[in-house]
Amino acid sequence: MIEVHNVQKSFDGNQVLKGINCTFETGKCNLLLGGSGTGKSVLLQCIVGLMKPDIGSITFDGTVFTNNKVDIKQDIRRKIGMLFQGSALFDSMTVYENVEFPLKMLTSDMSKEERRDRVEFCLKRVGLENAGAKMPSEISGGMKKRVGIARAIAPNCTYLFCDEPNSGLDPLTSIKIDELIHEITHEYNITTVVVTHDMNSVIEIGDHIIFLYKGLKLWDGNKDEILNAQVPELKEFIFSSSLVRAAKKVDDETEGGLAAATTDEAINI
C-alpha cells in the first residue's frame, strides 16, 4: 500500500499539487484520473522519487520514502517497476537486453541462466517470446509498451507505475495493454498506479480511481461508482466522452451497474 500525505508541489510560484492525500491499495489497479495539466504526472513523479515534494510525505507499506536515508530510498526504489509514457526503452539494447538490464544491475546473486529464464518468462508473459533479438526501433508502439511492462516486472517489483500506458496506441491495442496491466496486478498482488485520462481504461481496469482537478483530489471510488458520482468537474470530464455517455445509457437501462455495460455494448449502440 502506498500512502500520500498532504503532498504539495510548486513550479516558479505555480502550485501544481495543492495538498494531495490518497491511498493506493495493494492488489488493485489504482487510477490517477484527470485532464491535462491537473498534476497527475507530477504526483506520479513525486511518488517514484523523480521529483521531491515541497511539503508532505509518501510511504510505501509503512516505510517513509520522502526525506529518508539514501539506503532506505534505494531499497524502496528497487521494488518499483515503471512503464513510461514513451516506453523509455534503451535504444542501444535489444528487447532481451532491455528486460535483462534491471536484473543485471539490481541483482548480484542471479546466475546468467537464472537471468535468461526470468527474461524469457517475462517476455512470454507479455506475449513477446519471439521478439527478444529485435531492437526497440524495429517494434511497434504497442510492443514497446509490452517490453516496458516486461522490464518493469522482471525484478519482481512490488509497485508498478504506469504513466499514460495508452498514449499513442490504437483502441484495440490500448485495451490489450490495460488487460495486461490488470492481469499482472492481480496475478502478482502488486500495487499498481496508472496515470490516465482515458475513460476506456477507467471502465476496463479501474479497481480504485482517484480524480484530480487543478491539483486537488476531488473524488475517489471505483469504476462502478464513477458514473453516478455527484462531483460536477468529474461529471463534466467523464461525460465529455460519447462512448461513456452511451455506456451510461446502457447502465441506466440494464440497472446492472457499469459491469453490465461493457465497452462492446456501448459500441453497439
Binding site: G49, L50, I80, F84, F90, D91, M105, L106
Partner: protein, 243 residues
Amino acid sequence: MVKSFGEFLLFIQSMLFRKERFGVLWKRIVDECVIIGVDSIFIVAIVSAFIGAVTCVQIAYNLTNPLIPKSTIGYMVREMTILELAPTITSIVLAGKVGSSIAGGLGTMRITEQVSALEVMGINSASYLVLPRIIAAMFMFPLLVILAMALSIIGGYLAGSLTGAISAQEYIEGIRTDFIPYNILFALIKSVVFAFLVSAISSFKGFFTQGGALEVGAASTTAVNNSIIAILVADFALAAILL
C-alpha cells in the same frame, strides 16, 4: 555563470557518489573507449597528417633567409606539433566529434525518459552514463594525441619531400635537433585535462537537456562551443603553469 559552474561541480560530485559496481563500469568504459577512441582514429589521422604537411610547406615558404638552415623547418614542425598542434587541435576536433556525440546521446536519453528509467530503478544515472565516458575520454585522448604527433610529423616529412621544400635528410636532422622529452609529457598532461573538460562539459550539457529535439541540437552546439573555449583557456593556463 557562477550558478552554472556550481551546478557543474555538483554534477561531478553526484557522479562519484554511490558509484555502480566495478564490473558494470568496466564494461561501459571499454564500450566508450571504442566509441570515443577507435571511432575517432580516422578523423584525427586525416586532420593531423594534413596539418603537419601544411605547417611544413608554410614554414618553408616563410623561411627565405639563406643563413637559416633548412633543417629548422623540421625542428619547427616538431615543436609546433608536440607543444600545440597535436594536443590542442586534436582536442578541438574531438570536442566537435565526441563532445557533440556525448551531449546529443545524453540529451536524447533525457528527453525520451531513459535517464528517468535508470533513476526509478535506483541506478545512479550520472555514475552509470557519465563516469565511463569521462574515464574513457581521459584514457583515449592521450593515445589519439600520440597518434596525431606521429602522423603530423610524417605528414610534414612527406609534404616537404614531395614539394621539394626540404630534403628528407634535412627534415630528419631538424626533427632530431634539441629534442626535449618533457614536451611530450606536457602534451600528454594537456590532453588528459582537455579530455576531462570536453567529456564533462558535454555530459553536463546533455544530461540536463529539457524539451525536445530542438533542445538536444542546441545542447550539442553549446557543448561544443563551451568545450572549445574551455580547451583554449586551459591551454593558456597549463602553458603558463607547466612551461
